[in-house]
């Protein structure tokens, strides 16, 4: 089966090709970019659109198994495709946790049945994510896990974290750290600062993140293991990663779109969609994160897509669970708030949504080079639309961008050579 995508403006951060070109796709891989012949191919007119590698989100929660009322693998993959994402990495905080090969196989089987983009798994570091004993990481490798993490349960035991960084070296996968000292964070619900003091909410100091970022970096130095710090949120974390990279350590990191565009000022209206962990920080942190993106300290942008049922978020701020959904708004929010404002070039953002995350976790994704998987997003960076969370393909409605007027719309998503999503609908 052949598909010819005609006339799009190519953005391929991993490759050399740019400008208006045609893309020929055959048997699920990219064959040629340039002016290939259309003979025997279905033609997709993409004039006026940008073509980039299918976006890669290395931090999502699809809640499956166990919390399918919040999201499931199929709805999660639909949300991803609608947002232009063709590769996602699922976190293991399901019920049961993804801490064994059999649970990983269950998730992989569901993804295959859904038949949209590619789903990768980050398995648990420890059994039941309890932070006590290592999970069977080697066995989970048989189901293709691409990282290990205890995500929402940061590994408080430094010895276990050391062992995880050592043990994973034989598999070549990174340990992904949700860096948070649980004691220092306490029962906090928002960033500690002027806003928490003014409105009177239990605070989480950013040092709860900093001390763990610093600890994990030193453990990466000790072990020579691969460390990926996920959703870093503070200026101090950016500095720490910058220094770790300068030391030549194998440390990478990602940042969320919401930490790049929102601050704790958004919490003042008590919208529970702004309750997220790590919490939205101060403007100085937000600026430091953008700077870290520009200077290459930050490798990737990941949504931390964390759906919850409406009734779970329609409660007081304290009672609401942490998390927001982002897959369907990431591209537009970044284009609107970073590209249109001149804070960051589009090409850089696309690289942080494709080649950057793929390299951080060693995924075969994020490239339009001939022979690469034919995962492609076509989008119009100028198209204007209004975010309406009630129309999301995700089951989650907990989106702080709801109602925003944004620019940047996904026109079509191609996964494994097939057009799966086009003009707002699934094909």
């Amino acid at each position: 089966m052949k598909l010819l995508i005609k006339g799009a403006e190519i953005i391929d951060p991993a490759g050399k090709i740019a400008g208006r070109n045609d893309i020929l796709v055959e048997d699920g891989v990219i064959r040629e970019i340039g002016k290939p012949s259309a003979a025997g191919a279905e033609v997709l007119d993409a004039s006026g659109l940008k073509a980039a590698p299918g976006l890669v989100d290395i931090h999502v929660h699809f809640r499956d198994p166990g919390y399918e009322y919040k999201e499931n693998v199929a709805t999660g993959l639909r949300a991803a495709a609608a947002g232009g994402f063709t590769s996602v990495v699922c976190m293991p905080n399901t019920k049961p946790d993804i801490d064994t090969k059999s649970v990983a196989k269950y998730v992989n089987d569901k993804a295959r049945a859904a038949g949209l983009g590619r789903l990768f798994i980050a398995g648990a570091i420890s059994k039941k994510r309890e932070g006590a004993e290592l999970a069977e990481i080697g066995d989970m490798m048989n189901e293709g896990i691409v990282a290990v993490t205890d995500d929402g349960n940061p590994v408080m035991n430094a010895q276990l974290m050391r062992r995880a960084l050592e043990y994973t070296k034989m598999f070549g996968i990174p340990v992904m750290s949700h860096a948070e000292d649980k004691n220092l964070a306490g029962a906090g619900v928002m960033n500690e600062g002027m806003v928490s003091t003014t409105i009177g909410m239990r605070p989480i100091p950013k040092e709860a993140e900093t001390v763990m970022v610093l600890r994990d970096i030193e453990l990466a130095a000790l072990t020579g293991g691969r460390l990926h710090l996920t959703h870093i949120s503070s200026a101090e974390s950016v500095d720490a990663v910058r220094r770790a990279k300068a030391r030549g350590l194998r440390v990478t990191c990602d940042v969320t779109p919401h930490h790049l565009v929102l601050t704790d000022e958004s919490v003042m209206g008590f919208d529970t969609a702004t309750k997220v962990n790590p919490p939205l920080r101060a403007e100085s942190d937000r600026r430091a994160l953008v700077a870290g993106l520009l200077d290459g300290t930050i490798d990737a942008i990941a949504s931390d897509h964390a759906p919850h049922a409406v009734h779970e978020k329609e409660v007081s701020y304290d009672d609401a669970p942490f998390g927001l959904v982002g897959l369907e708004t990431t591209l537009a929010v970044l284009v609107t708030r970073l590209v249109e404002t001149g804070a960051a070039p589009l090409e850089l953002l696309i690289s942080k949504l494709t080649a950057g995350p793929a390299a951080a976790l060693g995924l075969n994704a994020g490239s339009l080079a001939p022979g690469a998987p034919a995962d492609i997003v076509l989008f119009d960076p100028a198209a204007e639309w209004t975010v309406d969370s009630s129309k999301f393909f995700s089951k989650g409605r907990n989106c702080p961008f709801n109602g925003w007027r944004v620019r940047g719309r996904v026109a079509a998503t191609v996964a494994a050579g097939n057009i799966v999503f086009k003009d707002g609908a699934f094909v």
Binding site: E192, G193, M194, S196, T197, T198, I199, G200, M201, R202, P203, G269, F270, H311, E314, V315, S316, Y317, D318, D319
Partner: protein
């Protein structure tokens, strides 16, 4: 004024002055043989309390009744909240019952705003989490103005667990808006970050404020702060910050002592000070009644009608 009273932070000096002036008008009613005016006749006021409270709930109930409103009292401990009814559904039930006013007390900051979104009733914050307790601050201001004749330029010291106090927060906003100088006295573990940026001076020990404090406002210190490691013990707190006759004698002679209640005798305040002549805790309670009447009355839209309704 806004349609709700949830935060002092969003009021201006004129709003506060208007409430205090209206409260003064209502004070006269307390001395009448028949303590009732028809201003809220036919209106339904619900007191929705998710936390135990004696004075605030009773004060609101009586204030509403003196304005001739019908009052429904909701206490979480004896309601469907125990069966797991959500805050949203509780609010929708109150809406269906035709509540015109909801006075809410909740352990979580922001709960009043959440309730305000569920219906077209007017919402009064009766204390939310560590957020605010606006009518407490208003009655405190009213009491200070009553005793000292003014607010502007006064030195008011608030001593105790500032970080976990909605009373402190509302008073900081209210007093600074009215031109008073606010000093906060607390162990550093009980001071939230950057609190001085709200316009208050910060001191770690009471000796810094002996000389020129006009009002000494004490906060209740709660036993659970010990397990959060904010304090080694209540005994040590009482040694360092407890106000007894000795400590009070170091302040200027005419200092007045206030406390939002309920007091912890022997912790932040000794029995001799609590029962002494410098302390205005009972006046605070009495003034709370008229301040809450004024708030209900003004939210109902009473302006020019003030005297008509009162007479």
């Amino acid at each position: 004024m806004d349609r709700n009273l949830i935060r002092i932070r969003t009021l201006d000096k004129e709003d506060i002055t208007k409430i205090l002036d209206q409260s003064k008008v209502f004070l006269e009613i307390l001395d009448r043989p028949i303590k009732k005016v028809p201003a809220l006749r036919g209106k339904v006021v619900v007191t929705l309390f998710f936390e135990p409270s004696t004075r605030t709930r009773m004060s609101f109930e009586l204030a509403a009744k003196m304005l001739s409103a019908d009052v429904l009292n909701f206490a979480a401990s004896t309601s469907s909240a125990v069966k797991g009814e959500s805050l949203k559904d509780t609010a929708l039930t109150m809406k269906a019952l035709g509540a015109d006013y909801i006075v809410v007390r909740h352990t979580h900051t922001g709960a009043p705003e959440f309730i305000a979104k569920q219906g077209d009733f007017r919402v009064i914050n009766g204390g939310d989490g560590f957020g605010e307790h606006p009518t407490q601050a208003l009655l405190d201001l009213f009491t200070i103005r009553q005793k000292l004749g003014r607010l502007e330029g006064l030195n008011v010291a608030i001593m105790g667990d500032i970080a976990h106090s909605r009373v402190a927060r509302s008073n900081i906003f209210a007093l600074t808006k009215m031109g008073a100088n606010v000093r906060l006295v607390a162990p550093p573990t009980m001071l939230p970050v950057n609190i001085e940026k709200l316009g208050a001076q910060v001191h770690y020990r009471p000796d810094a404020i002996f000389e020129d404090t006009d009002v000494l406002y004490l906060l209740r210190v709660q036993t659970e702060r010990q397990k959060d490691s904010l304090l080694p013990s209540l005994k040590e707190y009482a040694e360092l910050f407890g106000v007894n006759g000795d400590l009070l004698s170091k302040f200027k002679k005419d200092v007045i002592v206030m406390h939002p209640g309920p007091i912890n005798r022997g912790v932040e305040i000794s029995h001799d000070v609590a029962d002494g002549n410098d302390t205005y805790i009972e006046e605070q309670v009495r003034n709370g009644l008229v301040v809450r009447m004024a708030v209900l009355y003004l939210l109902e839209g009473g302006k020019e009608a003030a005297h008509e309704a009162v007479n």
